[in-house]
Assembly symmetry: C2
Homo-oligomer: 399 residues x 2
């Protein structure tokens, strides 16, 4: 028997894939591991290397799309600009559907198949829809994707190509999120939504990779964009696992970031509240982290307070400037949501006291290709020429 735990009520409940929330306080439940000395299996490939730390007995490679193993890049130009000793980017855009969501889908799909589920689903505004539809197709499961009706044509089409059952739904997104579990229970659809406990366990793997890429050290700071809160919760759990296993001594400082135009968790953190308040109206360019009612918000707040960390917000102007800087200075083109990490680092760089050996990691969550439209607002330099006056044009551009 497997158990999920509520970190608020500190109780355990038998696993129910159809409703992984606390029956008492309605907060999301997290996977509870039986006590065991854990280790990495260095001779194994892919997810099997981390099997001790995952909620699975075995990995079926047929359901993988080759997720993970993403680069941890040194950002030397930014390091010098900011006068820091080491700034790194964990580039999660180099995943099968070009976002970190694949980490979570990869584990949730294993669980779905191992538990005999024939139908999976998700409620999403973008990245998670694509990722879930891709893994559903890979595993041959019937996949139900519920989307907000105002989703962009690009996101709709790039989800539909995998042939899920796709329904755009008119109405409040928070209500849709909750209703999905009722539908799941009725129709036996495992809704692997943003704070699904297995999805969250999948996010841990990026943390383990960072630890190994840094030659078995934890970075001192990890900057993570926050929407539902699930990604931050997963990454924080990875380093809790590493600490518990005795692999690291010092827990990293986590910096969760939200865009000012939708920052319920950052507001609660600033006001020293333990619960966030739902936002009535959102307005930000960082569409992938626009969740006015984040289901993992309270769990994230509690984990940040129990360990080391903070949650801050950044403006759209700061986000777009950071997005441009990552591309121009380092060759990394990410979606605005991911650029919140650099925006936050720039904002904090005068305030935080970095030590000479500190390593700062920015989690780059999704590809810029997923939000090309937002670039239209930037003033980008584009010149015109004809073949006959090209040489003259080039000459003037070189001057």
């Amino acid at each position: 028997m497997e158990y999920l735990e509520c970190i608020f009520c500190q109780k355990e409940y038998p696993l129910d894939l159809f409703y992984p929330f606390c029956p008492e306080c309605q907060e999301p439940l997290l996977f509870s591991y039986p006590f065991k000395k854990k280790t990495f299996f260095f001779r194994k490939e892919g997810l099997e290397k981390y099997l001790d730390f995952l909620p699975l007995r075995k990995i079926n490679h047929n359901f993988s799309l080759g997720e993970g193993n993403t680069p941890l890049l040194r950002l030397n130009r930014l390091k010098e600009k900011l006068n820091l000793s080491s700034v790194l980017a964990k580039n999660e855009t180099i995943n099968p559907t070009h976002s970190f969501k694949d980490r979570g889908s990869a584990i949730a799909i294993q669980k779905a198949v191992s538990m005999g589920m024939e139908r999976i689903g998700t409620v999403s505004t973008g990245n998670m829809a694509v990722s879930t539809a891709a893994y559903g197709a890979r595993a041959g499961l019937k996949t139900y994707v519920l989307l907000k009706e105002d989703i962009s044509q690009e996101k709709l089409l790039s989800t539909a190509i995998y042939d899920p059952v796709l329904v755009t739904v008119q109405g409040d997104y928070g209500h849709l999120f909750r209703q999905s579990y009722l539908l799941g229970k009725r129709f036996k659809i495992y809704f692997m939504n943003s704070v699904d406990p297995f999805r969250i366990e999948g996010y841990k793997v990026a943390g383990f990779e960072m630890y190994l890429q840094l030659k078995r050290q934890a970075p001192q700071y990890i900057f993570v964009p926050m929407s539902s809160g699930g990604h931050l919760i997963g990454l924080m759990r990875a380093f809790l696992d590493l600490k518990q296993a005795g692999f690291i001594q010092e827990y990293p400082t986590f910096v969760g970031i939200q865009p000012k135009g939708c920052s319920p968790i950052a507001q609660a953190y600033a006001q020293r509240k333990s619960k966030f308040k739902r936002i009535a109206k959102t307005d930000t360019v960082a569409q992938a982290v626009t969740n006015p009612d984040p289901p993992g918000g309270n769990v994230a707040l509690k984990m940040i307070r129990q360990n080391k960390g903070m949650i801050i917000d950044v403006s759209d102007k700061e986000i777009l400037a950071a997005q441009k800087m990552l591309a121009e200075d380092e060759g990394l083109f990410c979606q605005p949501a991911s650029a919140t990490t650099l925006a936050a680092l720039l904002k904090l760089s005068g305030k935080l006291k970095f030590e000479s050996q500190d390593k700062v990691v920015l989690i780059i969550t999704g590809s810029g290709l997923k939000a090309v439209r937002t670039l239209k607002s930037l003033r980008l330099n584009i010149h015109q020429a004809s073949l006959s006056n090209l040489e003259k044009t080039m000459n003037s551009l070189l001057a």
Copy 2:
């Protein structure tokens, strides 16, 4: 001193980055290695593992974006449909700018810096522009990108974000390609275009990875989309290297594929000609492989004839059906150009005699996100509902 060779005139010439073409026959020159027993350095990371087979003395990791190490996925559902023993996809969309071009840019940029170049450039219709601009930004080199004036807004913006000098040029693309070398010589800009000899050496690395991923075996068939011809030339050279080093006995059969709407090389192959003829008018959905005057076409034809292989074409209808099949059956969403590989395999599967142990590899060259617009022509299933009638809608979809 380093040399480039002409495989037609069988002569060597000292390396000239500004014009790597044969002064006698104008065909592209390829890098000529001094004779040496070559091996892999398994304890090294990234490109250093393959250094013996690359035209570089050392690798500067600061210029890397973490390219390569892409998955080789078993396509089990397609394997069964086609009654083959093993169909695999080398997923090159999992690269920093989501296409195989990064392999070539990664090596060309190393060469540029090691030779003291301060300016690089490229002539491209899409993927290569993005890749070159990204690596130029990463290395801090002034980067000149010349694009056709009718390029899509998405491609223009996702190149401009890296802040290269971007010029859209009115006029014939073949002329622009040739003129770029004149401009390069005059303004000291190293134009790392599609058939640049260092770019081509970079494409070899995917071949070495496949060999290692298959536990030191070559696949029996490799399907590669063809535009300029550079990618196929590079992959063929990888397996020539492996044969010469004594690592493999049997050379794989290469299948180069062009879309029917732009198939100058496939036409020459079918007509048993040694030189292709420029196409006057192109018309295909596979925009990333639309080159009516492919600079590497004749070299590719010669290499295919000298070794094992063929070059065929597929229709837009076959391409779009294959693109949909890869997404629906395997969770892989690629650009139409990449789907030419599966379209060709489907077309040949009745004709080629596959053996029971044969491994067939499809090279998936670029992400579907780069060409979302083409999906509009597909009939994709999208349903609508409101929160209040969602349960009813779901019920009808499950029936």
